[in-house]
């Protein structure tokens, strides 16, 4: 009797661990995607101090172009999947970057140096316009893509029925994200562009006096952010297989939350924030209620901001009179 119940609780504990592991895997893949979008917010905020509200829409546009490219390259379950996906990624990155560049050029650059809210309103306007542009031209119904990358690993701990799945796609998402993170860290730390960006972040007029082309640096920041967002767009399209014109809004808000959570202006912070948001969302959906997962995310944001007003990896701001 006693022995029996002990074994039962052991089994339940294993199942709890399995379930946790599964949610952890899902959370990390989701978090990697949020992190990629968050980098775009954090870089732009770091350099010109504005919330690029239309960044979520850039990500949505990236997802649409990626999906179109995937369809155009006619992906079947043949051997050329990798090549086709890679070309879809390149097309999407190129076009989305152009969107990011034009966005900055048209809607933000003329407003630089005017009151701070003007650029934010312009960004909100751009976000509404881009959403409706895609809805008008491509229709309001969701676009779906059948799964392309199948397969993965299954783990079974003990003799429970619960199987923990780690799909190839999830591994791919995390690997691609880590690789991009590494490339970006190098880009910012070692190249002339990265140096120029850091200089503009500290003091734009001083940087300009020392020969940094501020306009070009800011443009390239937008281009880089948009390119990363389009990678996230492709991965989401592959992962969930469903997109519509509205995906940018909520993903954008969450990614911005991630950027603030990690400490705005810090790229590792954006990644960390993305992971935390992804994990919170997955765990909350897994253990509590899926309807309130967004409430949980925002509550975390409020709590962190109250106790750590500059985010986890942000540098405290010194107020000067």
């Amino acid at each position: 009797m006693n022995d029996e119940s002990g074994r039962d609780s052991g089994r339940i504990r294993i199942r709890v661990m399995d379930y946790f592991a599964q949610q952890f895997i899902n959370g990390v893949s989701l978090g990697a995607i949020y992190g990629l979008i968050a980098i775009g917010y954090t870089m732009v905020y770091g350099i010109i101090g504005m919330i690029n509200f239309a960044h979520g829409e850039i990500y949505m546009i990236g997802a649409f172009i990626a999906l179109m490219a995937v369809v155009a390259f006619g992906i079947s379950e043949g051997g050329l999947v990798v090549l086709a996906l890679l070309s879809a990624l390149l097309v999407s990155m190129a076009l989305t970057s152009l969107y990011g560049w034009v966005l900055e050029r048209v809607a933000y650059r003329p407003l630089r140096g005017t009151q701070r809210l003007a650029a934010l309103i312009s960004a909100i306007g751009m976000s509404i316009a881009l959403q409706n542009y895609v809805q008008l031209t491509q229709g309001a119904r969701v676009k779906t893509l059948p799964p392309i990358i199948r397969g993965g690993f299954e783990f079974q701990f003990g003799n429970t029925e619960f199987i923990v799945r780690l799909s190839t796609l999830q591994i791919l998402i995390v690997v691609v994200t880590l690789a991009l993170m590494a490339i970006f860290a190098l880009l910012i730390a070692k190249t002339a562009l990265g140096r120029a960006q850091r200089a503009c972040q500290q003091d734009q007029s001083m940087a300009a006096l020392l020969g940094v082309n501020v306009d070009r640096t800011i443009s390239l920041t937008f281009v880089m952010g948009a390119a990363l967002a389009s990678v996230a767009g492709l991965m989401v399209t592959l992962y969930y297989g469903v997109i519509d014109f509205f995906v940018g809004f909520i993903a954008g808000v969450k990614a911005f939350t991630a950027a603030v959570l990690g400490g705005i202006g810090s790229i590792p912070g954006a990644m960390l924030g993305g992971l935390l948001i992804g994990l919170t969302e997955a765990m909350w959906s897994g253990y509590f209620s899926i309807e309130y997962k967004d409430v949980a995310t925002f509550s975390i944001l409020v709590i962190v901001l109250i106790f750590l007003p500059t985010g986890i990896l942000g540098t405290p701001e010194v107020e000067k009179v």
């Binding site: 101090g49 649409f64 076009l95």
Partner: protein, 481 residues
């Protein structure tokens, strides 16, 4: 060809080229994923039409900007004529019934409208250049803006009061005007938070929702009347403002913006999912309508009671209620305005504005930033609560649908476009942003696209807002004559 024209052509070609690359996947292709396999179909006529319109539009604009008269005039008129022609072709059905070649040249209503409107705008710019040629621009005398705005305000208020009595005013116009006034009131309420206290609130719609649901629930559950619920709804919204503001108000501008945005979404999600309390996505129906000092606007009053039309001995007309609603929101809006104008002269109002300008200086001078910000937040929320209960009683129905982020965005846009703190500016911006799109509902598919682009264009045109002039709150010496 001389070089400025060549440069214009190059510039127009570059812009059209970039726009073409950007538009190609969305305008030139159509993705369909219904059915067995996802397919891409092409829409090259529309795409080519768009690129051509952009090319000539850009050419016209850059020529007009450079002060040329004739070239942009001709271009603009040609564009307008082309757009109008294809609109006519489409409207009369020539495009559909005629040969296929016609159809290929009709680029769709939207593009034709854009070409037509853009052409007229370019021609107008060019016409002005033409008239101004060889003339010195007149010396501008600075206008007495304060006086002017005061008169504009009085004129607008007078017009608003007389509007339902004017001849030719129909139900639809009164409806739109009521909606605009709701946004004017919300804009004035938000102006206290954003314009005066300088706190960027992207979740203002949450308080609007609290007000609307307070009235809806109280009215449906307890049968309380509108006039009893109005202060209760305002107080509840203010309470929510304090509850939210308490932890987050020490955050700096953009953090505050994102937290308030999150709060607005949280309220909406809770309203959507707390089915037992709010009836979830189905919303609350049969919300009580307000009465005219106890006289309901019913066509058949209950036995033994009187309704508005029997009491005054006039024939029943549903428009009575609409007009009453109109005056109700007008009165509420005036109260908000009067309150704001008065409180700006009180110590608390001055503390808000001082805090907006320099928080550190305020703290050194003994202003408590937290309490000051909280009061602005709570009072702003209270007015949103009033407007919310008005919304609930006007619609007779509330659901979470009405309280999405886009409403908050529109409100912030109204305040910022209006010029941050300018009361008349808010009213003008509300008319432009809410009234115009509402009146052109025929174009509803393109409404939000035009709305978003309009926000960007107004910001680019006047980054400080439509009416940047703001009377100083205090003058240390008499106003200059």
């Amino acid at each position: 060809m001389n070089s400025p024209h060549a440069a214009s052509l190059r510039d127009a070609a570059l812009v059209a080229g970039i726009a073409g690359i950007l538009a190609f996947p969305f305008v030139g292709l159509l993705l369909t994923t219904e059915g067995t396999a996802p397919t891409l179909s092409t829409r090259f006529p529309e795409f080519a039409g768009a690129v051509v319109v952009i090319f000539f539009g850009r050419l016209g604009i850059s020529a007009a900007r450079r002060g040329h008269g004739l070239l942009p005039l001709v271009l603009g008129l040609a564009m307008a004529a082309g757009g109008a022609f294809s609109l006519v072709v489409e409207a009369t059905g020539l495009g559909a019934s005629g040969t296929a070649i016609w159809h290929a040249f009709v680029p769709g209503t939207f593009l034709s409208t854009v070409a037509c409107a853009g052409g007229i705008a370019i021609a107008g710019l060019a016409g002005r250049n033409y008239l101004m040629q060889g003339r010195q621009p007149a010396e501008r005398t600075p206008l007495p803006m304060g006086q002017l705005l005061l008169w504009l305000g009085i004129a607008l208020a007078g017009f608003a009061i007389l509007l339902p009595l004017l001849p030719g005013v129909d139900r639809r116009l009164i409806d739109v005007a009521t909606l605009v006034l709701t946004y004017v009131m919300l804009g004035w309420g938000l102006n206290i938070v954003v314009g005066l206290a300088g706190l960027l609130d992207l979740g203002y719609v949450a308080f609007y929702a609290v007000g609307a649901y307070s009235y809806a629930l109280l009215s449906v559950t307890f049968g309380w009347s509108f006039w009893v619920c109005l202060p209760v709804a305002g107080a509840l919204a203010a309470l929510f403002g304090i509850l939210l503001g308490f932890p987050v108000l020490r955050l700096r501008g953009d953090y505050l913006a994102i937290v308030t945005l999150g709060f607005g979404e949280m309220i909406r999600i809770i309203l959507l999912n707390w089915y037992d309390f709010t009836n979830g996505p189905d919303g609350i129906t049969n919300i009580g309508r307000p009465s005219f000092f106890g006289l309901p606007f019913a066509s058949k009053p209950e036995q033994g009671t009187e309704s508005f039309h029997t009491f005054f001995g006039v024939a029943y007309d549903p428009v009575h209620r609409l007009i009453f609603m109109y005056y109700l929101i007008l009165a509420l809006a005036f109260v908000t305005n009067a309150f704001t104008l008065r409180i700006r002269r009180l110590p608390i109002g001055r503390a808000w504005e001082a805090l907006r300008e320099d928080e550190i200086a305020c703290r050194s001078l003994g202003v408590n930033p937290r309490n000051t910000k909280l009061s602005a937040f709570a009072i702003g929320a209270m007015f949103a609560g009033f407007a919310g209960s008005f919304f609930a009683t006007r619609q007779g129905f509330v659901s979470p649908e009405s309280f999405t982020f886009i409403e908050s965005a529109i409100l912030v846009a109204i305040v910022v476009l209006g010029g941050m703190g300018s009361q008349i500016g808010v009213a003008v911006a509300a008319i432009i942003l809410v009234g115009l799109p509402e009146y052109f509902r025929e174009l509803q598919e393109y409404r939000m696209l035009a709305f978003g682009m309009g926000m960007v264009l107004i910001m680019l045109w006047r980054p400080g807002g439509l009416l940047t002039h703001r009377e100083p709150t205090i003058r240390t010496r008499p106003a200059p004559a």
